[in-house]
Every structure is written in C-alpha cells, then in structure tokens.
Amino acid sequence: MRPAGRHALGWWGLILPAFLLMTAFYVAPILQVLAISFTEPQPGLGNYERLLTSESVQRVIGTTLRIGVVTTAIALVLGYALAYRIALSGPKAQRWWLLAVLVPLWISVLVRAFAWVTLLRRQGLVNQGLMAVGAIEEPLALVWNEFGIVVGMVHYMVPYAVLPMLSAMREIDPRVLAAARGLGAGRAGAFLRVFLPLSLPGVFAAGVLVFIFSLGFYITPAILGGGKTLMAAEWIKLQILDLIRWGLGAMMATVLVVAILGTLAVFSRLVNLRRLFGAGG
C-alpha cells in the first residue's frame, strides 16, 4: 500500500468507533422502523399504494408541504430584514441583536406554543385588543387552524433563517456597496443589484434549512393546530400510537426522510451546504 493510502486509512480508523456506534444505535434502528413500511400489515408495497389512492394521505402531504412553503417564505422575509439590520449595525450592537435572536431558542418549544395559544385564542390578547379598538366585531379564528400553526412555526424558525443569511451578509465587502453608490446607484439600486445577489447563497441555505425543519414539526402543529389540521409528524403519531397501524406510519416517515434527503440533494448543487452548519466558506 502506498504511504498516502495508509495515512488515509489511519484517519478512517479514528472515526471508526463513532461510525460503529452511530450505525448500531441510530442508523440501524431507524432503518428497521422504516422497513416496517414494507412488511406490515403484509409484505409488499401496499402502504405506498396509499400515496396514490388514499385521499387522507394526500391531504396530509399537501398540508405539510403547504405549511412548510408558507412558513419558509415568511421566515425568510422576516429573517432577511432582521439579518440585514444586524449586518449593517456596529460590532457592539450586533452582539445584542444576536442575543435577542438566540434567546427564543432557549425557551421550550412547548412553552412557546402554549404562549401563542394564550395570545391567539378567542379570548386572547390579540382578539380582545382588536375588539377593544373596534377593528373587529367577532373574535377571529387565529388558532387551531393553519394560521396558528404558521404563526408558531415562523416564530420558531426565524432564528434559523437569520443565522445563515447573516453569515452570508457578513462576507460581503462593504467597499463593494460603496462602489455601487459611487458609480451612480441609489440606495435601492445598490441593494437590488449588489447586496441582494451577493446575499442569495445565504438565502438559499436558510430556505433549505427552514423548509426541512418545517416538514418534521410535531409539537407546534399539534398544539396550535388543535388536532384539526394534521401535518405529517402528527399523522405518523396518530397512525402508530392511536390506530396501531405501524406500516402506514412507517411509510409516511420514509416519505418524509426521502423528501428531506431529496431537498438536500437538489440544493447541495445550488448552495454550499456547509454554510448551514456554521462552517462558512
């Protein structure tokens, strides 16, 4: 064996224990569960046939995709504005902004979901406030529907949208923006023609991250959806724990995993995914 080859083998040897551990306790059980989709209730592709025939399966997938797309879009817009503001502020202000962005991440998702219920329910602060100022007569249905789910999920996802976009914006040379102004572009022109295109890799990265997260949301839709709007994760729980239909639940889980890997595969050609994991570059 060539020295270089032996060298590389040494490196692989170093990660071998971690690899075995992951395979034995993580990958293998997951594959085992996913395999149930082909074996229960009887061997075959029967569960997957439901993708084409069952209206309820299609509705769940449709709802999940729709909420995922809407959440991603709103989180990107809000996150972009926030990241832009942060990128343009001084180093000291940046630290405070980042803290403000990160603090919600440290609060339990359960607490946050119930907090939104309190705010958005019929006797909640939002409805009562709007009625008090006379904007509405009847309380609006703000929760236990898709609207409530999207509100809760956007709130959860904005920090994940901000961080990759901020990292991309920080890489933009401020002199390039000054150059755009100096060469005759107004503020809007410099933003649209220079800043926005240069920050797009961060937007793509944030979009992928938020969308993938959104597909697998469980607690937030379960609480804010009130059991009426079902997303994939809650539907899987329903099949497996309540209806004891392991095959169908495992089928949906497999579809979710494939959809996520598929999204990653497509976007890894468009953006540098290492940005997602904070490696920059």
């Binding site: 755009a180 005759g184 022109g189 023609r193």
Partner: protein, 360 residues
C-alpha cells in the same frame, strides 16, 4: 468617449471632525480641468478623508466642495457623476468583467445598444476586450485594476477619483501600471484625483501634488517644485531624503546665509532673523576633487559608506554641520570610499533651501 473636457474642482476651507479628533483641518485646494492631482501623505494624514469628501461619502464638518464653481457639498455620491477606483478595486464578484463595466450604465438606464458599445470601447481602452466574460476572481491583480478603471471611466465621469489604485500590486507591476495610468490620463483628458502614500508614484504620475500631514495640507505644487523647494521639514523628508542643517540666519544679496559654529552656509529661500533650518538633498552634495571650488565647501571624514550598484551612499562627519548623508553616482566619485578617509564636500548655493519647522 466624448470630447467633453475635464472639470475643475475646488475645496474651500473644508474640515472634517470626528468628535474631538480632527481628520482634516481647513483644506483649500484647486484642481484645474484635465489635471492629475495626487493627495500624498502618510497613513492617517487625512488624504483618504479628503477624497471621500470629494466623492460624497463623507460629509464635511465645515467648508464647501465646488465643481466648476457649483456647490456640490450636499449632493449624494451617486448623483455626483464621479468615477471612482476603490482601494482593493471593490469589483462586483457576482458579475463578469463586462457586467462590472456595464454597471454604471445600467443604473443610468442607458439603452442596450449604446451600453454594449460603450462597454466594448472602454474595455478596448484598457486592453481587456478578450476578458469580457471572465469573473473578477479569474483575473490577475493588474487586470482587476484595469477593470476598476474601465468601470470608473465608462460613464464619462466629470472626475476620476483613485484611492490608492496601485497599492495592492507588486513593485514591478506597479511601475508598469503607473505608466499605463499616465498614458490613460493623457488619452481621456479627464481630471484625475489620486490618493497615495507612495512618493515615487506621486512624483511620476502627477501634474500637481498636495502633501498632507496630520490632517493639514502642507504644500501644493508641481512635483519638481515640491522636491526642489520644499516648504517644511516634513515635505523635505517625506518627498525624497534630506539632510537638515540648523543655525542662525542672516540675509545677504544672494539669499540667505546660515551660520553654524565657524561654518557659513550659503543658501536660498527666506527665513526670519534668528534660527533657521536648511534642507540639503544628499544627491546634490559632491565630493570635490583636489583644488576644485564650490559655493559651499566643508571638510569631513567618511563615517560609513555602502555601495548601491549605481552609486554610493556615504555618511560624512563634519566639525560644524554634524553628519551629512551624501549620495554619489559611482562614476562621479573622485576617491575610493573608505572609513575615516578625509573628504571635501561641496554644493552649490541653490542646493540648500530654507524650510520651516513643522507646525506642532
């Protein structure tokens, strides 16, 4: 490029303060149409701040900026119609060379046909036509610099501002691009304002140099005028090298006489009665052969010398004038330098120029 002539710029008592810190104090400057002016100074002297006030990126705390007599102090940078080459070039990394050059025309909403024609003509001007479809990252430093120039010139700007345009390049390339920049200035006939800390670049490129120190304009003039007749100690030492001789001044018909110990130095320039300071360039001092006379003659001994190929750099210790640095061309030196060797130094009256001490 149209036949529009260059424009004249003037600064009237312009100042910039950041809290207590004075970046630029009371700078007044006239740049004639079609001239090449260089703002020269060490880092922190305020030269870039002045350029940024001309460009409109920095608002003056006081004073006015005039273009052809029109007050533009309050005009935002994008409406000044000045071309600018930024330090490090600041090319748009997501655009090709042609798109970079087209940018100023695009934001001015020029028609496609005219835009393409102008981009082509300007790329031609800087000899980059075959690189039109490359990205800036695929170009060498010198090529990037030329893209930046093309981008700054393509919209026929009133002025071209250059912020340390050559500082990112290695020495050899810098000399080459200096010549190119000079030729370009002659070809386009625009007014160029350049910022640099490199005195050689300033001397070789400029019609006029404005020297700055500590936020103040110290002296403005043609390169040879500044070199031959520096106004202050700072100018004499920043532009080239200089010996300084301090002594008691007295007037005579030929100009100025400076007395130091038993030695009288004939010099030119004006100095008040009392103490005065002379600047004497090392290359203007000769080692005199036996029996030759000169306006000023001083005897001394060689304290140190080094051979530089084209010449010698010699340090001579004298009784009254202290150590004098002398630069001699190798073929003009009548003795073989050696430490301790006695030599007679001589220089014409015009070589010693009275300069002012720097303001504190």
């Amino acid at each position: 490029m149209s036949g529009r002539a260059g424009h004249a710029l003037s600064l009237q008592a312009v100042s910039k303060r950041y809290g207590e810190f004075v970046a630029v104090a009371d700078a007044s400057l006239e740049v004639g149409s079609g001239r090449f002016l260089t703002l020269l100074g060490p880092s922190g002297s305020g030269k870039t701040t002045i350029l940024m006030m001309i460009a409109g990126f920095v608002e003056p705390s006081a004073g006015r900026v005039l273009l052809d007599g029109r007050d533009i102090t309050a005009v935002p940078p994008e409406r000044r119609e000045f071309g600018m080459v930024f330090q490090g070039y600041a090319l748009f990394p997501h655009m090709t060379v042609a798109e970079n050059v087209a940018f100023p025309l695009r934001v001015r909403r020029l028609g496609r046909a005219e835009r393409d024609a102008r981009v082509r003509a300007t790329l031609d001007l800087v000899q980059l036509e075959q690189f039109a479809d490359r990205r800036p990252s695929q170009l060498s430093g010198g090529q990037q610099q030329r893209v930046a120039l093309a981008r700054a010139l393509v919209f026929d700007p009133a002025l071209l501002l250059l912020d340390e345009p050559l500082s990112a390049l290695d020495k050899k390339l810098r000399a080459e691009l200096q010549d190119e920049l000079k030729a370009l200035h002659r070809r386009v006939g625009r007014t160029f304002i350049n910022v640099t800390h490199d005195q050689e670049e300033a001397l070789s490129l400029s019609d006029e140099i404005a020297i700055l120190n500590n936020g103040r304009l110290v002296q403005v003039g043609a390169p040879h005028a500044l070199y031959e007749r520096p106004a202050t100690r700072f100018v004499a030492s920043f532009l080239g090298r200089s010996n300084f001789i301090e002594g008691e001044a007295e007037e005579d018909d030929g100009g100025l006489v400076l007395r130091r110990g038993a030695t009288r130095v004939l010099a030119v320039g004006r100095a008040g009665p009392g103490r005065a300071l002379l600047s004497l360039r090392p290359e203007k001092i000769a080692v005199l052969p036996e029996g030759e006379a000169e306006d000023n003659v001083v005897e001394g001994r060689i304290a140190a010398w080094s051979y530089l190929g084209a010449g010698y750099a010699i340090t001579v210790t004298t009784a009254d004038l202290g150590e004098l640095k002398v630069h001699l061309q190798a073929w003009r030196i009548p003795v073989t330098p050696a430490e301790g060797l006695p030599v007679r130094l001589g220089w014409p009256r015009g070589a010693a120029v009275a300069v002012a001490e720097d303001a504190a």
